[in-house]
């Protein structure tokens, strides 16, 4: 009798594992679905803009860019300098084993521009702005502010969502370009200390390493991350309905969901562009 029960439990394990996997996949599709739904609302809201609401959206978008991009510069600078320097040291250690130090700049540029830059900027934006957006939306939803905005004739999509979407895309693009530049300069500083490498040679190697594919990777990753992060964080914040205890849960879910989307979308785009 007991052995039957044990056997049943063992046989149930693959089913439970499959169910867990299925729930994970379903959750990812649910996230993508909520982003798509909010995105179509933003696109419709964009077509409804008139002269004055356009000016208002521009003002709020500017404030978003200041918070998301400008205020994040010190953290991005520190991260970029360290990542650039450390990556160069690691790559140099590996390449010198094979005697191909000349490929150093190329490998560094490709690593930073293709993968590290967009990924780390995404993490910085999620940790600073994504969590702030989710908290703000949850608080506004809970206090009835969003209903009151709607009832007073303010379009919440135009006033709240659209500037965060536009601000996210512009900020991500600007931060990725800035991060890549600083990381490469940081890498050059380390290289200059350890190798007989001139700035001209470094820039020459860099120009050879950066092509249309690197530029399109930067553009598309900024576009996808800049769309997904603010909209997903808005979506989690707006789902809060009953109590303030839901706010930290919503913020955690927003951060985790955004990270998952960041990693999956980053990998998907890399495969798409470089494979």
């Amino acid at each position: 009798m007991e052995s039957n029960e044990a056997a049943r439990r063992v046989l149930a394990l693959p089913v439970q594992a499959a169910r867990g996997l299925g729930e994970g996949v379903r959750a990812v599709f649910a996230h993508v679905g909520s982003i798509a739904w909010l995105l179509q609302m933003c696109v419709k809201a964009m077509f409804r803009l008139d002269r004055e609401t356009f000016a208002l959206v521009r003002e709020v978008t500017r404030a978003q860019i200041r918070f998301t991009a400008l205020d994040a510069l010190p953290l991005c600078t520190l991260a970029a300098l360290l990542i650039g320097g450390i990556t160069l040291l690691q790559v140099f250690g590996q390449l010198s084993t094979f005697g191909v130090e000349t490929a150093l700049c190329q490998v560094l540029a490709q690593l930073v521009i293709r993968e590290l830059g967009p990924l780390l900027v995404g993490v910085v934006v999620i940790s600073r702005s994504g969590t702030a957006i989710a908290t703000e939306m949850a608080s506004r939803q809970l206090s009835g502010e969003i209903d009151a905005l709607h009832l007073s004739g303010v379009d919440p999509v135009q006033y709240l969502l659209l500037p965060r979407l536009l601000g996210g895309i512009i900020s991500l693009f600007a931060l990725i370009v800035y991060f890549d530049t600083v990381a490469l300069l940081g890498g050059f500083a380390v290289a200059w200390l350890r190798l007989p490498l001139s700035l001209t040679a470094f820039l020459d190697a860099l120009m050879r390493a950066v092509g249309p594919r690197e530029l399109s990777a930067t553009f598309f990753k900024a576009l996808v991350f800049g769309t997904a992060i603010p909209l997903l964080c808005c979506s989690f914040g707006l789902r809060v309905r009953r109590s303030t205890t839901e706010i930290p849960q919503a913020v955690t879910r927003a951060a985790v969901g955004s990270l998952a989307i960041l990693l999956l979308a980053g990998a998907f785009l890399s495969v798409l562009i470089y494979a």
Partner: protein, 223 residues
């Protein structure tokens, strides 16, 4: 016969935990009418306003706002045009904006005013609400009666045609009550404006009485 701005037909509202807050409500509010709703605290007056505005959806029956069912999740032409003056107990103000910006913001959407013109108009209505010295400040948390007064100013500045006014948080001092009366009197100069005001004696002129008792509407004599 003018079409009702607001019409309830057999409307019922369910409480979040189950059970009915009220049911079978039949009532109409036409342009130019002024109604005062008498209701004990906790009897569902705020819930009735939320139902009328579309923040809550009826469990049975129907609610029509300017001929269409209101719903805060959908665009409603009357609401989007600034026709609804919404003054909940806590004011429903954005906490990250000053009083002035809170009143000016809807003017840019519904009246297409530029930033300066919207601030000027908002400033006039805040003065009328007795909040002139608080213009640059952000609303206090928790909400005080200044937030409720500011929501009246916001409704007035837009030129709302239908006012849904809940009671303020706490008692109004004589100066605040006088400011509320002045502001509503200014709004009532529009002969098409219709009002449903919970409690208080802030409406001047002929006001019809309505009471919410045991989940049902009772019509008083009124003027």
């Amino acid at each position: 016969m003018p079409e009702a701005l607001l019409a309830l037909r057999g409307a019922a509202l369910e409480a979040p935990g189950g059970g009915r807050v009220f049911q079978g409500l039949d009532w109409e509010l036409k342009a130019g009418e002024r109604w005062r709703l008498r209701a004990e605290p906790g009897s569902g007056a705020s819930a009735l306003l939320r139902l009328c505005a579309g923040v809550a959806q009826p469990a049975a029956g129907s609610v029509r706002l300017a001929g269409l069912a209101p719903d805060v999740d959908r665009r409603h032409p009357f609401v989007a045009a600034g026709g609804l003056g919404w003054a909940p107990t806590d004011g429903g103000l954005a906490m990250n904006l000053s009083f002035l910006e809170n009143v000016a913001l809807p003017l840019r959407f519904v009246r297409g005013l530029d930033r300066e013109a919207a601030r000027e108009e908002a400033s006039r209505w805040l003065d009328l609400a007795g909040l002139g010295r608080l213009k640059g400040q952000r609303p206090p948390v928790p909400a005080e009666r200044s937030c409720w007064l500011a929501s009246l100013a916001r409704a007035g500045a837009k030129g709302s045609r239908l006012w849904l006014v809940d009671r303020p948080a706490g008692e109004l001092d004589p100066a605040a009550a006088r400011a509320a009366r002045n502001l509503l009197a200014e709004a009532a100069r529009d002969p098409e404006a219709a009002f449903l005001v919970v409690g208080g004696d802030w409406m001047e002129g002929p006001v019809r009485e309505l009471a919410l008792v045991d989940g049902r509407l009772a019509f008083g004599s009124g003027a």
